[in-house]
Symmetry: C2
Subunit: 261 residues, 2 copies
């Protein structure tokens, strides 16, 4: 944390989680200090009873406010932060553009997140899950509140993603990068919606980071320049996005101890 | 349309579509006039090339503005309408409450929409789809841009929802109604977020309507009173929500002619 204020928030997050990275970028851009609690996703900390008491959806990130209110869903946390701490503003002024930023963020969540999970989980979760006995697997699955997540873990344990599935997922991220190029062409830059850096830029940035790691050098010209600019934002440094396997390892090393009840 | 102003919008919608109903309720609450174009979902009008040119996602509702801009996604259309036409305001003032309205609307979309599709599609789509030959089925599937929708049509045609699946889906809607009860208890009413009628009330209303049709008389006391109040809103009448099979039939009778290119 580079910020100097007294922390207002506690952020439960994963270093390698794209959704957590989005929120760290927004906190960084706003210059908001926070107490970070690192959740080790690989040891299932987010599926433990104490975390599910905090957040029944059992997902990161999860932002706890000073008054104890708990916010989840990265796009909606970011929109909260922008409304509660308006400087600098991270949404366009025009209602049509605001609609389009929300639609873009929903696309990133609905389409790009399931895509990035394939290379990510293959690297970080599969080596662990495939070693489980059937009994261990069942215990792990029983702790997961969402069918979608249960399916993912079951796949990692018994039927991991094939290389062609991972390539197809990376094609989805490549298509995302082409959409960024189209936005930049239309707006004239320097950001997706023109002169103002917005949540549209922030919410997609962690996915571009992962795409660049997996298929380096493939960004189209406007997107390449945009991406260089994103990485020069002060908020980007504060967001502490590292190489994927570096951040997975960091997540293990820095995992918070399980709180005593 | 009870409104008297000159229409500002063209709304492509389905009478029986819950997402379309949400947007009609918001237009009604704001007193905004619109040209309605009824899309017959049963004859696949939303999968025709001319409609996909308008909206590549091939879903209703779809709101076309005076300047030609096309908005999709019912929650996000409603938030646009609230920002562009602020009277009466349909979002709370407090940023935390605003976050929670968005999260509630996302829950309705992610959880209640897939649930309501089971009884709805069994009634309206299954009788049609099951008559298709394999060749006809394939032609229909090829026109659908989303895997999720292809899966739904494939199920309707060859492996329709079983009664126990439909009951389980209605349990999801019953759980939604219990959440409404909890909100009303917490806020003290008369609306989910207190004194102000908001998008949280509007976005869930079509789902409560369907639940009441399928399992009449099951609403808890606060929810029953809230539901009576919702139906007395002037915007509710303008939204023209009819019985499900009545609206399916109305959708066929009033379907717009395919435009000549």
């Amino acid at each position: 944390m580079a910020q100097s204020q007294k922390p207002k928030f506690t952020l439960y997050h994963g270093w390698s989680s794209s959704a957590s990275r989005k929120v760290r970028l927004t906190l960084g851009e706003k210059g908001l200090a926070y107490d970070g609690r690192v959740i080790d996703l690989r040891s299932f900390q987010h599926h433990t009873p104490w975390f599910k008491k905090l957040n029944p959806s059992a997902i990161v990130p999860c932002l706890v406010l000073e008054n104890g209110k708990i916010l989840v869903e990265s796009n909606l946390i970011n929109e909260y932060l922008d409304e509660a701490f308006p400087n600098p503003p991270l949404m366009p002024e025009d209602p049509i553009d605001r609609h389009e930023v929300r639609r873009w963020s929903k696309y990133v969540d609905d389409v790009c997140l399931p895509a990035v999970q394939k290379p990510n989980w293959s690297k970080s979760m599969e080596p662990i899950a495939k070693k489980w006995s059937d009994k261990e697997l069942q215990e792990h699955l029983d702790a997961i509140p969402s069918q979608e997540r249960r399916d993912l873990w079951l796949r990692m344990a018994r039927n991991p993603f094939k290389p062609e599935e991972i390539e197809k997922a990376l094609d989805v991220l490549q298509d995302m990068c082409m959409k960024i190029e189209a936005y930049l062409k239309k707006s004239g830059g320097p950001w997706l919606f023109g002169e103002r850096y917005t949540l549209a830029d922030i919410n997609v940035a962690p996915y571009v980071f992962r795409f660049e790691e997996e298929r380096p050098g493939k960004l189209a010209p406007l997107t390449r320049d945009w991406w260089a600019r994103v990485q020069q934002r002060p908020g980007f440094k504060a967001g502490e996005i590292g190489g994927y396997m570096f951040d997975v390892k960091r997540g293990i090393d820095e995992a918070m101890p399980e709180p005593k009840e």
